[in-house]
């Protein structure tokens, strides 16, 4: 059992009177894919925003077990979490730098390294070798990920002009260029056709196995969730209603009820209880 990479500990996020996330606790393991699922409005993206520092939760702790020591994410700013915690994310509504090229998007992701190498632009302005080498290495890393997501031929095109599926892949590649320890993906399969979803599955498993990092994933597409997750957490109305392996979760009556919205006291005969993957 791999150790936990991220410990979510009694996290609550309130907007006015509404608890978007309510006393939530779970752990995401390292070198594993953890999926967070639940009906719309269950608080999944809010949870992500808390983890990545865009929201500050009212209560609870978020501990990232960084190789350099544990980090309390709940008190860190979003860009600090990204830079020091090495937590990368993608967004539900793709956020690329649309008017910059595909390659430039990936180079910007390596900003911190490059800034250091350019000595805050001084070495860069003077054209010193240390900066030129760093830039070359950055391009190589970008190329590596471009190959992984099959976008090498489009490297110099405007990011905003790519088809939807390619933009999603680019966003993942960009996140990976920051060399994260934890990769958070917000609905990476949204809008993808079955073939693209299968490609995505391969890509994510590839990342897990070759980069040895933890992945945290919000998804609605059950083929993705069931196909690649090592661990699944189910949310409804901001609370955790089930947790376990994909198989355990798919048969959990509480989960099915959340998706179907049955009356709470209704008893369904076992043969009628649908399999969760058919609901996806």
């Amino acid at each position: 059992m791999t150790r936990a990479l991220l410990d979510v500990d009694h996290i609550s996020m309130r907007f006015g009177g509404l608890f978007a996330v309510n006393d939530l606790s779970f752990a995401a393991a390292d070198k594993a894919i953890t999926a967070v699922i639940g009906p719309n409005g269950a608080g999944k993206t809010t949870l992500f925003n808390c983890i990545t520092g865009f929201y500050r939760p009212q209560t609870g702790k978020l501990t990232l077990h960084h190789p350099g020591g544990p980090m309390a994410l709940e008190r860190m700013a979003d860009y600090t979490i990204a830079r020091r915690g090495r937590v990368a994310r993608t967004f539900q509504n793709i956020r690329l730098f649309s008017r910059m090229s595909v390659l430039e998007n990936l180079i910007v992701a390596q900003h911190t390294t490059l800034m250091r190498a350019s000595l805050f632009s001084v070495a860069g302005l003077l054209g010193l070798a240390r900066y030129r080498h760093a830039e070359k290495r950055a391009v190589e890393k970008a190329r590596h990920w471009l190959d992984k997501v099959a976008l090498t031929d489009h490297a110099d095109e405007e990011a905003g002009s790519l088809p939807y599926g390619s933009q999603r892949r680019l966003e993942i590649a960009r996140a990976m260029c920051t060399d994260p320890f934890l990769l958070c993906l917000d609905e990476p399969a949204a809008g993808l056709n079955p073939r693209e979803s299968a490609d995505l599955n391969r890509l994510l498993m590839d990342i897990r196995d070759q980069e040895h990092i933890g992945l945290l994933l919000i998804e609605h597409d059950m083929s993705v969730v069931m196909g690649i997750s090592d661990h699944v957490v189910v949310l409804d109305y901001g609370k955790k209603i089930a947790e376990g392996s994909p198989d355990q979760v798919r048969r959990d009556p509480a989960v099915i009820r959340a998706y179907l919205g049955e009356e709470e006291n209704e008893e369904l005969p076992p043969e009628v209880i649908p399999d969760l993957k058919d609901l996806g």
């Binding site: 993206t45 925003n49 865009f54 967004f91 509504n93």
Partner: protein, 304 residues
């Protein structure tokens, strides 16, 4: 104490005028997210038109002063609203979907055009008007200082209150106002629901211009002197007031206007008159440091 009261009175009067102009800024920003740089010039046009209208009415021998002023008010509001409508139609509507800075540059250009148009058609020298409304009440006397409240000041504040209430009623109770609020919150959705966006936006500009026109008339009567440049300074201060009160909020604009007026009056009364123009502005910066959305503004939650 007496001196303080006098500054207070002056400040409130000034604040009412700024508030009326600020409403125009805040409504336009709230609905199409743009700073209408030319709004200050609309106010300036209002001042000029009110002066011309009043002189025309009195020259035609229209009778009593109040009647003349009422006619002037109506005429000014009519023509200034037309100008406000025209500016939107010509310089902003075609750029509604353009990159963010395009309408701003267009607005700055329009502001320059209006300033110079006025300078060319009416001359660059200041236009003085002898006091039309005289007299007032002495509220109290002490320390060798008389606190005076003029009829004009009372009229300005009362008129402003009436307009505020009137427009708040329009915004909250009529279908026109509802359409305006809906468009302000979500333009695309409002359009999908059948609201005529162009008309709502035009209406917003017209209302803003009408209020600015009233402010123009007030300033003409209150200060007795106008020139083609008054729009710029008043514009900055009124926009500052709108931001201070929380942009997009009607009561905020009024509150901000009041605040700016009071700060200006008190500062020039107690400190120095040279720096009065920047005192209010310095307050704005301080407020924005601690409350970036202004006093009554609602923090905008951006969906991540």
């Amino acid at each position: 104490m007496e001196y303080f009261l006098q500054q207070l009175i002056n400040g409130i009067t000034l604040g009412a005028i700024y508030g009326l102009i600020a409403i125009g800024y805040t409504m336009v920003y709230g609905i199409i997210g743009m700073i209408n740089f030319a709004h200050g010039e609309i106010y300036m046009l209002g001042a000029f038109i009110s002066l011309i209208a009043y002189l025309a009415v009195t020259t035609l021998g229209a009778g009593s002063v109040p009647f003349g002023l009422l006619v002037a008010l109506a005429v000014t509001m009519l023509f200034t609203s037309l100008w406000g409508w025209a500016v939107e139609r010509l310089a902003y509507r075609p750029l509604r979907n353009a990159p963010r800075l395009a309408p701003l540059i267009s607005a700055i250009g329009m502001s320059i055009v209006l300033q110079n148009f006025t300078q060319l058609t009416q001359g660059a020298r200041v236009k003085p008007l002898p006091p039309v409304i005289h007299g007032g009440v002495t509220l109290m006397e002490g320390n060798g200082f008389r606190v005076e409240l003029s009829w004009l000041q009372i009229a300005i504040v009362l008129l402003t209150l009436a307009l505020m209430l009137g427009f708040t009623w329009i915004i909250t109770r009529t279908s026109l106002g509802r359409a305006q609020r809906a468009t302000q919150q979500d333009m695309k959705m409002a359009a999908l629901l059948g609201i005529n966006i162009d008309r709502v936006v035009s209406l917003t500009f017209v209302i803003g211009a009408a209020l600015a026109a009233v402010a123009g008339l007030m300033v003409t009567l209150y200060y007795g002197v106008i020139d083609f440049y008054i729009g710029f300074l008043a514009g900055i201060k009124a926009f500052t007031a709108a931001v201070l009160g929380g942009i997009g909020s009607l009561p905020g604009a009024m509150l901000g206007g009041l605040a700016i007026g009071l700060i200006e009056a008190l500062w020039s009364g107690y400190f120095s008159i040279e720096y009065k123009d920047v005192a209010a502005f310095a307050v704005l910066v301080l407020v924005l440091l601690f409350r970036p959305t202004g006093l009554l503004g609602r923090p905008e939650v951006e969906k991540i």
